[in-house]
Symmetry: C2
């Protein structure tokens, strides 16, 4: 894997994070609000969402500075969503440390997530100075669309868990991922990057496909790492998804392939509250996934998605002059499934 993918992410990610921190006030109430807002951003993160925004704007011929506030806003909103996701999923770890609601309690963490989410509007409003009112408003419209798609995807996934749905199809799963993951992770960053890069003169439709293919591959790889990755590198509890009853493509596949008795045992396991799922049962479910080839199947789907993304890449970016940014965007889909 070429080194320049993580290199560019570090470079652009750091630039966006520097702007992000300028938008987090260090004033009162500090201990109950502003320290909490800065907590997840301070823990790091790969910064690939802001990088996709900046690289797209640059590939289309604009500067880093033109995209920097938008990139910072994306990272702010991403962190805001992590705070609320962790509450909703009852996750206990994030980036290798206890989740915010674990250290601060649900009420203050929930409120901090709200503050972070609405704080992400501020850099988009400040875009006016550099990008003018029309383009600033177009970007805000994209942000609103993305937030809507994300909430729809999150509702689908949480609804499946709450109602212990065991009839989720692969098509349901991919629609959920399109909304929940792809919009914030890839579609929105590249769409607003392209708006900035072209001054608004671009067809945004193909970005939906590119972003879906890359984003879905990313989600599948993330879920694979949760089952097969290295605890220290991963930053969340391994097999946490199984404890949370998360409908991953591996679980969806397993529910479709398992024998009836196994499926019923899985349903009972998934129907119990998180705390009542034992390590032995989780191991049993994990073993079943191996037996039915669910891990390999997920890998092959992710590979197929990356191929489709590379095809879309050439349709969107192929005509643009060669640049480091263009090369990054070309290599990014494959990086997504080869990272560990």
């Amino acid at each position: 894997m070429p080194d320049f993918v993580p290199e560019l992410m570090r470079e652009y990610g750091d630039a966006a994070r520097a702007v992000l921190f300028r938008y987090l006030p260090s004033e009162e109430p500090r201990r109950h609000l502003y320290d909490l807002l800065a907590d997840y951003p301070r823990r790091g993160g790969r910064g690939f969402r802001p990088t996709l925004c900046i690289a797209t704007a640059r590939a289309f011929g604009r500067t880093t500075e033109d995209a920097l506030r938008t990139a910072a806003s994306i990272e702010l909103l991403h962190n805001a969503m992590l705070v609320h996701d962790d509450i909703e999923d009852e996750s206990i770890e994030r980036r290798g440390r206890p989740a915010l609601h674990v250290t601060q309690g649900v009420p203050l963490a929930l409120n901090a997530g709200d503050a972070l989410s609405l704080r992400s509007l501020r850099p988009l409003l400040d875009n006016q100075q550099r990008l003018g009112p029309w383009l600033s408003l177009r970007i805000l419209e994209e942000a609103e669309r993305m937030a809507r798609e994300s909430a729809e995807g999150q509702a689908m996934e949480l609804g499946w868990r709450r109602d212990n749905a065991v009839d989720v199809t692969e098509a349901d799963y991919l629609l959920m991922v399109l909304k929940k993951t792809c919009w914030l992770a890839v579609i929105y960053p590249t769409r607003v990057g392209a708006l900035i890069g072209t001054g608004g003169a671009v067809d945004l439709e193909p970005f939906l496909r590119f972003g879906f293919f890359v984003g879905a591959a990313f989600q599948i790889q993330d879920d694979l790492l949760n089952l097969t990755g290295d605890q220290a590198q991963y930053g969340k509890e391994l097999e946490g998804d199984l404890y949370e009853g998360k409908r991953t493509i591996m679980l969806v596949r397993l529910l479709a392939k398992a024998r009836r008795s196994e499926r019923e045992r899985l349903e009972r396991l998934l129907g119990r509250p998180r705390g009542e799922r034992t390590a032995a049962e989780i191991r049993w479910a994990r073993g079943l996934m191996d037996r039915y080839g669910c891990i390999d199947y997920a890998r092959s789907v992710a590979h197929g998605l990356v191929g489709a993304a590379e095809h879309e890449f050439s349709r969107i970016f192929g005509h643009l002059p060669d640049s480091r940014d263009k090369r990054f965007l070309a290599a990014f889909p494959r990086w997504v499934i080869e990272r560990s």
Copy 2:
């Protein structure tokens, strides 16, 4: 109390609500998202926030239609905040029915609150057509400021409860109310109403004072009704604030006035989880408030605030021609403390 205050609120509130519902899609995922978004708005509400916005815009000479999308956005955001507040406060009732997280579970209710909050941006973006890009962006900036103030106020209050603060002063309390209540309830609606009404040519500073005086009186009256009101009319559990350990002005006063032994018993009571506060203990604390004149004291503070608000009213609106809207704004502060 003149009937025209509730009458105008019904008229403008209904108009804003009709627009609000146009912004709530009736599409999938319905059962896990869009039905939840519409739940609190369908339960009604007095609609005084959108009314303040429309009446202010009209008092300055613009039409209802000019302010309608902004008014709908205010009501959307207000409902979004109620959903999250109810989770944070562990409230069990809202507008006479079970709170959303009680019927749907915390994860889906939290997500619905997020969706509702970001959905409130859409009408503000649609303002462009009628108000142009500059004024639309100014209103979005006010929305961002208001959201920030609200989150700060909420953090203060939740922090006091989590840490069982018993040294909250009246000044702390009023700063918290300025941020948590006044911005969304009065300051923001009248400020954006004035922006719309004048096309942006207005000094917004005095609205801060007017909104603080009215909003603080409103909050104190709300807390008084929680202790002294009629269950059927009130729509939340009576004495719920005491069960929740909410720092009201009555409690702040009581903590300042009580004897040391009483204060220590109060501290222990407030330090226990909500479920472990018994009805007998709540009655004891409630009786102590009567003994130390905390209810009467709160009433007198609210009266003082209304007087100050009426003074600010004449400085802001006094020079404007007589209208039903101006008369509403003049009568509103007193209505706030005379309603039941």
